[in-house]
């Protein structure tokens, strides 16, 4: 039976924890609003570049750039795993890592080589346990307050450089798609060879809507557009991730605050009960002492 002092201490410590989780929840809510706005603001560009790419790629017959068609091999896979820099956000990090791990196991089962590029420390920490030697690099975004296009571009360039030096054949990006505060979907997106959206056929079927003129040439434009598209995709993934992280943290902290509330209620009842028990016991002692006289 814990003493009254123990109970008092326990209650006050849970109250302190509740204050912290409540504060974290509110901070996450504020950050979420900003992250969501950033993710939404980035959407038009990604949509437009996709449209342009569909337009262009439909016209390319042979000799397409390697970034679009791949280098014809399927031996070495690069997995870009984007996670958060911080924990305490529910299952956010582990669900991305779980998806990546399933992917790795499947690829290794097929006898393929797997290389991992980690973005964000949490994913690195989790993947390091089993796949330390597969990890080729860790990109930390710890010091970055608001993710800008530069970060996406830097990673994109790195990936393209690796591809051009023949380090891998297929690149897949893992991140969490933001649906709502309570729903984030871990997603795998293939970057190289580029996946042109499926509506390409519809466009072709409805006939060429416009015969474009290209300046300088179609190939040159495609050659600059494709690397850009990769950077944009990564940038978008980072933004989605940022929003998802805050959403996940918000709901995790909401749960934690509620749990702390329950705990406080339970402990307070216990405290009051044992206090009353002690009083009753003392009364009984006094009364029976008086009767004995």
């Amino acid at each position: 039976m814990p003493s009254l002092k123990d109970l008092r201490n326990r209650i006050s410590s849970v109250k302190a924890t509740q204050k912290i989780t409540k504060a974290m929840q509110m901070v996450a809510a504020a950050k979420l609003r900003r992250a969501q706005a950033a993710a939404e603001a980035a959407r038009p560009y990604a949509q437009r570049i996709e449209k342009v790419l569909v337009n262009l790629a439909g016209g390319v017959s042979s000799g397409a750039p390697l970034l679009l068609s791949g280098n014809g091999r399927d031996e070495t896979h690069l997995l870009i795993v984007a996670t958060a820099e911080r924990g305490l956000c529910g299952a956010f990090n582990s669900s991305i890592v779980r998806l990546a791990r399933e992917h790795i196991q499947r690829l290794q089962g097929q006898g393929k080589t797997v290389k991992i590029l980690c973005v964000g420390k949490k994913g690195y920490d989790q993947l390091r346990r089993n796949y330390e030697k597969n990890i080729i690099e860790l990109v930390e975004l710890r010091g970055v307050r608001q993710i800008g296009f530069e970060q996406g571009d830097a990673i994109g360039r790195k990936v393209i450089e690796l591809f051009e030096s023949g380090e891998f054949d297929v690149a897949t990006l893992f991140f969490s798609q933001f649906k709502s505060v309570i729903q984030q979907i871990p997603t795998a997106l293939q970057l190289i060879p580029a996946q042109i959206p499926a509506n390409e056929n519809d466009v072709a079927a409805s006939g060429p809507q416009a015969s474009y003129e290209y300046e300088p040439g179609q190939d040159e434009i495609l050659a600059t557009l494709l690397p850009r598209n990769i950077s944009v995709q990564i940038f978008r993934a980072l933004l989605e991730n940022a929003a998802s992280e805050q959403g996940a943290r918000m709901s995790a902290m909401d749960n934690a605050t509620r749990n702390a509330g329950d705990m406080i209620k339970k402990q307070t009842t216990l405290y009051n009960r044992s206090r009353q028990a002690i009083i009753t016991k003392e009364l009984i002692e006094i009364i029976s002492g008086a009767e004995a006289l």
């Binding site: 980035a42 038009p44 560009y45 337009n55 290209y214 300088p216 434009i221 557009l225």
Partner: protein, 132 residues
């Protein structure tokens, strides 16, 4: 004057969207003006100033390269980076020029060096043109 739909987007946000009379854009092979019913063209942009004429009101934005897509539905510029010229100052262009000259120094292949040098000279021209 007849108007058409024009959009200027950068990776971070949509900067301009609306009906305009004319747009002047810095294409890779020279400045070009787009009016209503322009033939479909797709081109690479070099660093420069995009001038939007919206019902007599002119707006100027600096773009650091990108793509221009003139289609039947209108004109879209996918800019690598864009800010209004009014917010542009010597320090920002200076930083770009410094980046570009570093690129020239770091370039591994001749082709990359040529491209980087081209970008550097475009930026320097632009700086002079804006009188900064």
């Amino acid at each position: 004057m007849a108007t058409f739909h024009f959009e200027l987007v950068s990776p971070e946000k949509l900067l301009f969207s609306g009906e305009v009379d004319a747009v002047v854009a810095p294409g890779a092979e020279g400045l070009f003006t787009v009016l209503k019913d322009h033939a479909p063209v797709m081109t690479v942009l070099k660093p420069g100033v995009v001038e939007i004429d919206e019902a007599g009101k002119k707006e100027k934005l600096f773009v650091r390269g990108g793509f221009a897509d003139v289609g039947l539905g209108g004109f879209t510029i996918l800019a690598e980076y864009a800010i209004p010229v009014a917010e542009l100052d010597a320090a920002k262009i200076g930083a770009d020029i410094k980046d570009a000259s570093e690129d020239v120094a770091d370039a591994k292949t001749d082709e990359a060096r040529r491209l980087a040098a081209e970008k550097l000279s475009q930026l320097q021209e632009l700086k002079a043109a804006l009188g900064l």
